[in-house]
């Protein structure tokens, strides 16, 4: 381990003080929370991201229908009725941005969830069992890491979207769900998995490194001598202790996935209309850039702001949890 970035004596004293003052038993997360509270950028990012989520998942339900077209009212300027004006089809831009945010943020979160689930399990097993299993598993990760990620995701996405059509028809036939709703829901599903299936590699390496050092510690020996099974030791005692780096890495992964979603949608290989996502809005906006630049710039701003907030939040968490990730 290399030393954490040096601090001035004053900062160091302050930090120790705040920890000493905690009269109750102080946990890792409590300490982290206290440290995070001092990081104004991280707190601001948390606020920005929370507001964005509230707007997209809460406020959006009270907005206009994002699909309803009004061809007599194209490219309208902002007004009381259309807060940010309308787009090329006369659809309300404000509610399209919020609904687009739903999908973009969901893709980021769910793909990260898939990636974290695979990555933690894989890395933990590899590090815990060691030996030949470890060697094979890590060589596999090394190989997959050298493969151009976006290219495989593009092809995988093409394969999975066919399955999503079949799934959609099956759900409609079997359970009698609303057809339009089902189509819209299943259209997004492949993205979650296409991204998640390849995003776990770095995390698996990080978790493995953690497990390698954790499994030599006394508490693991204690748990083993109490007669717990190996799997129980791994999943109940070791994996929870890798949570810090996992949380940090996951937070930094979400903006990456949101960016990938936008890239795929921009190439016409991701989310399809009538669903909207920030990538689609930016793509559509680019067509009318010379006459109506706000169609590109407004979704672009919210998109970038969200990515900004998530990245700074991840950085803040890393400092607060005192994690040194392998990257950066």
């Amino acid at each position: 381990m290399t030393p954490a970035p040096q601090e001035t004596a004053a900062e160091e004293g302050q930090r120790d003080y705040s920890l000493l003052q905690a009269d109750r038993g102080s946990s890792l997360w409590r300490d982290a929370w206290l440290r995070m509270g001092k990081n104004k950028v991280a707190i601001a990012s948390l606020v920005v991201f929370t507001i964005t989520c509230l707007l997209c998942f809460g406020f959006a339900w009270f907005c206009k229908d994002p699909i309803q077209q009004d061809l007599t009212n194209k490219f309208a300027s902002p007004s009381g009725e259309h807060w940010l004006g309308t787009d090329a089809m006369g659809r309300d831009l404000f509610s399209r941005i919020l609904y687009g945010g739903q999908i973009s943020i969901l893709v980021g979160l769910i793909a990260t969830f898939v990636a974290v689930t695979i990555g933690v399990t894989y890395g933990a097993i590899s590090g815990f069992y060691g030996g030949r299993i470890d060697a094979v598993m890590m060589r596999t990760v090394d190989t997959l890491l050298s493969i151009p990620f976006l290219m495989v995701v593009i092809v995988l996405q093409a394969v999975l979207s066919e399955w999503s059509g079949t799934t959609s028809r099956w759900i409609v036939d079997t359970w009698g769900w609303n057809k339009e709703f089902t189509n819209r829901a299943t259209n997004v599903l492949p993205l979650f998995f296409a991204l998640g299936l390849f995003g776990w590699l770095t995390l698996a390496r990080i978790v493995r490194a953690q497990v390698l050092s954790l499994k030599e510690r006394e508490f693991v020996e204690a748990a083993t001598s109490l007669g717990l099974s190996r799997l129980r030791v791994l999943f109940r005692h070791i994996i929870p202790n890798t949570l810090g780096p996992t949380v940090v890495y996951a937070t930094l992964t979400v903006p990456g996935f949101i960016m990938y979603e936008a890239t795929l949608s921009y190439l016409g290989l991701g989310v399809e209309s009538p669903n909207s996502s920030w990538g689609i809005l930016i793509k559509e906006g680019a067509n009318y850039l010379e006459t109506n630049p706000q169609l590109l710039i407004l979704p672009g701003i919210l998109f970038s702001l969200t990515l900004f907030a998530l990245n700074f939040l991840g950085d803040g968490l890393r400092d607060a949890l005192d994690v040194r990730a392998s990257k950066d």
């Binding site: 890590m138 092809v155 960016m259 850039l289 900004f308």
Partner: protein
């Protein structure tokens, strides 16, 4: 050193084979058929076409014949959507992609590394804050937003720079900037991190104490170690530039390989898909190797061994 390179090349071959396997089976699993896009062909002529391209053979046969043909004949098969050898398509467009990728990388290094060094030296000052905030913008604003904005605010205003197109040397400028900006931002952050670590080391203090001018301490003593994380990043960065070039090529209408890849997926052209994927994979393997060798030269502490498990 030679043994290291040889073992890395072997590993690279393995990577390419894995890439081939994944792409091959994904391409087979893709819905739709290669010959459905154009006019409605009769079943007989479709069957004839399939036989012509060898697509009627058993799957395992197809899986093995493709690499065999690469090795024995150097042939990458024929594109089903364009009817031309994939090798010709690649050799026409790859120069464009490589020029674009390398100039983007060059721009990224020229912007990113100095910014990272400056903000590390001026740690916690407003210079540091400002440059790192700008770097974050570079990471968070996607190429497909920056690209169009550059088009209307620079290309449309300045004569001599075209909004889109490829041919004159100055046409490289805008696509390369768009492509290189996020890499520049990552490099700036990495260089800053690396420099901060080095600048707190004893030997830097010693150098300062001996009265060596600060600028020389930074460029001669600190930079060599501080740049290491960035050098290791260049391999993956080049891969990212290549993937990113799909977008940039679309925006600026650059006739590179990225477009062929996206078109191959859309028109279910598996031979073009495999050819482009393998060629990109090959470039990435070479760039990773180059980055590893460069790290070894810059940092004697890196003990070069065959397997690099960390």
């Amino acid at each position: 050193m030679l043994r290291f390179i040889a073992s890395r090349l072997l590993q690279g071959l393995f990577v390419l084979f894995a890439l081939y396997t994944i792409t091959f089976f994904l391409a087979k699993a893709m819905p739709g058929e290669p010959f459905t896009t154009e006019k409605n062909l009769s079943e007989e002529s479709k069957a004839y076409q399939r036989a012509l391209y060898g697509l009627d053979k058993p799957l395992l046969h197809q899986y093995l014949i493709y690499p065999k043909n690469i090795i024995t004949e150097g042939s990458l098969a024929v594109s089903t959507s364009k009817g031309r050898p994939v090798k010709d398509i690649i050799s026409q467009s790859f120069k464009v992609s490589v020029i674009l990728g390398l100039s983007a990388l060059g721009i990224a290094i020229c912007i990113g590394v100095p910014i990272g060094v400056i903000s590390a030296v001026r740690r916690n000052s407003w210079v540091d804050w400002g440059t790192m905030a700008i770097a974050m913008i570079g990471i968070c604003v996607p190429a497909f937003t920056i690209g169009p904005l550059l088009q209307i605010f620079i290309a449309a205003k300045l004569s001599g720079i075209k909004v889109a197109g490829w041919g004159d040397p100055q046409d490289i400028l805008l696509p390369a900037i768009t492509l290189g900006l996020s890499t520049a931002a990552y490099l700036a952050r990495l260089t800053r991190g690396g420099m901060l670590e080095i600048l707190s080391q004893d030997y830097i203090r010693t150098a300062h104490a001996k009265g060596i001018p600060s600028s020389k301490v930074i460029t001669r003593h600190a930079l060599r170690g501080g740049i290491l994380p960035s050098v290791a990043f260049i391999g993956p960065a080049f891969a990212a530039l290549i993937s990113g070039s799909f977008i940039v090529e679309t925006i600026f209408q650059v006739p590179g390989m990225g477009q062929h890849f996206v078109n191959a997926v859309i028109s279910r052209d598996e031979f073009l898909l495999l050819g482009v994927a393998l060629f990109f994979g090959f470039l990435i393997v070479i760039m990773n190797l180059a980055a590893d060798i460069l790290t070894g030269i810059l940092d004697p502490r890196v003990r070069i061994t065959g397997n690099s498990s960390r």
